[in-house]
Amino acid sequence: MTFARCCGLAALLLLGACYFGRATVNEPLDPDALRTLRPGSTTAQQALELLGAPSDVVQLGKRSAWRYDHSVQKEAATWLLIFALLNTDQRQDRMWLFFDENDVLTHVGATFAAHRPQYAFPWEDVHEPEDAARRDADRFGPAR
């Protein structure tokens, strides 16, 4: 058997033991929608019409806070007989809207990172600043 055939056979055997998985939770958050929110004037009703139902509502005394989120998780694994290598990487888009006792928006916090998870081996370093910047540039919407 030639060296090339051996390599081909080995590659085929290894590919059969590889796994790539992707899981998402909730719909992606739209950065454009974030820009239409106006602390001091946007009401809870307007936020509800714009963003839909939040995934969590927290009472903070007379205030309240609403959470919107979207998660992406990427998994990569490979098995060599009884030995497995697994890597899981999860990132999230999150928005928290804070309302006062009159249900008027006072503060907004947003993180957009659901486009950053990567398939990788456990020993690989990912999420370096330049890599994150490249992925941010490819993300939809103006808020990066």
Binding site: V58, L81, L86, T88, Q90, W96, H107
Partner: protein, 140 residues
């Protein structure tokens, strides 16, 4: 001969024994220098949200303060799983050396939404200590 037996044994074991090297990464770590700066300036909620983005959790504390939690995870370790079938009963055990303890930073805000305290470390420590339920109201 012994080599062939070892290979055969390993091949047979793969249905009931697995070793794994596992790494889990989740969310974005918070920069300690940014936390120090926010704490030194006794920043307000607006400044904290601008610098740190959206927290993972928001909670009201028993003392009335508001706690915002940023959490992240980047850990790896070894694990082993053994599964056997005894008299049609499946038995499985899993030893996981990868202690998946989320790290976190908790920022506490007073009633005027000014930063009053910052805690960093393992998230489970803050949450068990601080995320207590309010006591029930006394019955009349």
């Amino acid at each position: 001969m012994r080599g062939a037996a070892a290979v055969l044994l390993t091949a047979l074991l793969c249905g009931c024994v697995s070793l794994r090297f596992d790494r889990r990464r989740g969310f974005e770590p918070v920069d300690a220098a940014v936390l120090d700066e926010l704490r030194a300036n006794r920043a307000d909620l607006t400044a904290c949200l601008q610098r740190l983005g959206a927290p993972n959790l928001v909670r009201e504390q028993p003392d009335g303060r508001i706690a915002l939690v940023w959490a992240w995870l980047d850990q790896f370790g070894w694990g082993i799983n053994v599964s056997v079938n005894v008299r049609n009963v499946a038995l499985s055990t899993d030893v996981d050396r990868n202690r998946r303890h989320m790290k976190g930073a908790v920022l506490f805000f007073d009633d005027e939404l000014r930063l009053v305290d910052v805690d960093c470390g393992l998230l489970r420590d803050f949450l068990t200590l601080r995320d207590r339920r309010r006591p029930d109201a006394p019955e009349d």
